[in-house]
Symmetry: C2
Subunit: 303 residues, 2 copies
């Protein structure tokens, strides 16, 4: 996928201010909108996931995009294209998963067509409700970097599935049935009075950090020891890679003012400069430019 | 595709009032929303369409859904999944087509991923702007049945393409580059004070008529001689089949009060009863039940 090239081409043709964040913020309607495609054998394998889990995840990844904007997720529409062998039971289980994942979010419409493989496109709409909406351009020097949840669990789950393993189940669950961080999003969006950046970690924690750093023209400095992760992740020699590049944890990372950071997990600070700097014990530092981060992400998806 | 069965299964699981019309009407936001998937080799062939035409049609079919609701089309998002061999030029031409089709409608976001075939999912949002929103349930006895444009041209174009022909080009153009009926929609939605039904003819004129008849519990009586079509359609022996079952003309059909019908093309009237009755010269009548109509549509898509 020449995704970056394609997005640049689209920006050139459309000449639009909307393209940049994962959600489009439509101020005149008081809504944000986001659309994500999930494609069989690219984003999921029917051998690894139940229809229920697939429905759950399809809803959650889009609800997560709305959460990253700071808006309140309200509505979903679902475009499904399905091969001939898909049964009514599959559809029912898929929608049960979507419905259970969408507590408080209403599924209001969509489309069903034929296709060779399962293709899912979900659109999510959130209401801004007077909250300040985030943008990856909005990190300000002096802000604290905060995160929700555990990092690396989903990547660990994907690796276990790829290796044909079934344990530890908690990592596989983290991969197949993620939770969008509705509460964390709400807390930040309702308490921030100034501009702030927030992204989900769908493409990995390092991707989110480096996108924010690049779009905001700042350096993000992270204390590795402060990043929350499941201790059992250490069963993988390269657990640090999973934490930074695993992806699909659907946790949130935000840059917020000090007063808002008080009850949250602070992992670093916004400084002058560029890229992402990770601090380890004994004064060891590693620096990641945006292209370093993107290269690792690319390698991850090729694996 | 067991589309009907699937939709019934979804209705059972969701127990939602939203599923039924092509657009979901979200009253609290003052918007309607619609999402359609277009799949390579199901809905289009890359041999028959240019990327520009494909982008054009992808936008128009969704704008048409918004027009059918009576709302004003305002925003689009686009989820694209693309095989490796797709070039940046393809993307540029596709988005140029979308942009040209979307005059006054802003493309605000979307997603790009990999896939084996080209998958396109477009979501359209329209503002209600105080207009009355249509529903296929809303046809009332005594209303007139009105239509926009010519019927059967797109079906003729599809048949020419299937037969490897390139003339008459106007029919092929009608198939590859339809126009959503923004003006017709606006005129009706702004002048109707009472409830009304309106649908586009994406699945054919007979499908739209029979869906409205079934959902509203009425009979729609049509004068065949009053249906507008291109005279050259008579080059096909079965031009009547193309008019009723060809599909993808993206014209609008509505049931409106007599005063609103004055400057419009009236093709029939809403009566007590069920199904669709077509009147021909010499007092010949044909009756179509919903299942008659659906069977013909099904046969059309199998061809």
């Amino acid at each position: 996928m020449k995704e970056k090239e394609f997005i640049n081409a689209i920006k050139t043709v459309l000449n639009s201010s909307y393209i940049g964040d994962d959600c489009a913020y439509i101020e005149s309607l008081g809504v944000v909108i986001s659309q994500d495609n999930l494609v069989e054998d690219v984003h999921f394998k029917l051998d690894w996931t139940t229809p229920y889990q697939l429905g759950w995840k399809s809803a959650m990844v889009n609800i997560s995009d709305i959460c990253a904007s700071g808006a309140n997720p309200e509505f979903l529409t679902v475009g499904l294209s399905l091969p001939e062998n898909i049964t009514v039971e599959f559809i029912k289980d898929f929608y049960r998963g979507m419905k259970d994942a969408s507590a408080g979010v209403e599924i209001v419409g969509g489309d069903i067509t034929g296709s060779d493989k399962v293709f899912i496109s979900v659109t999510a709409i959130g209401k801004t409700e007077g909250r300040k909406i985030s943008s990856r351009k909005n990190a300000k020097i002096g802000q604290k970097i905060v995160v929700s949840g555990h990092h690396g669990s989903s990547g660990a789950g994907l690796r276990l599935l790829t290796d044909g393993k079934t344990e530890p189940k908690k990592f596989i669950d983290a991969h197949l049935m993620p939770y969008a961080q509705v509460g964390f999003s709400k807390k930040i969006a309702e308490s921030m009075k100034n501009d702030y950046a927030m992204m989900d970690t769908s493409d990995g924690l390092m991707d989110a950090l480096s996108q924010i750093a690049a779009a905001s023209g700042v350096n993000l400095e992270i204390d590795f020891a402060k990043i929350p992760f499941d201790e059992d992740l250490k069963m993988f020699d390269d657990y640090e890679t999973l934490i930074f590049f695993g992806g699909e944890d659907y946790q949130l990372v935000a840059t917020v003012d000090e007063d808002v950071s008080k009850d949250l997990t602070v992992i670093g600070r916004v400084k002058e400069g560029a890229g992402v700097t990770v601090l380890y014990e004994n004064n060891i530092k590693k620096h990641f430019s945006k292209s370093d981060a993107e290269e690792k992400i690319f390698k991850h998806f090729e694996a």
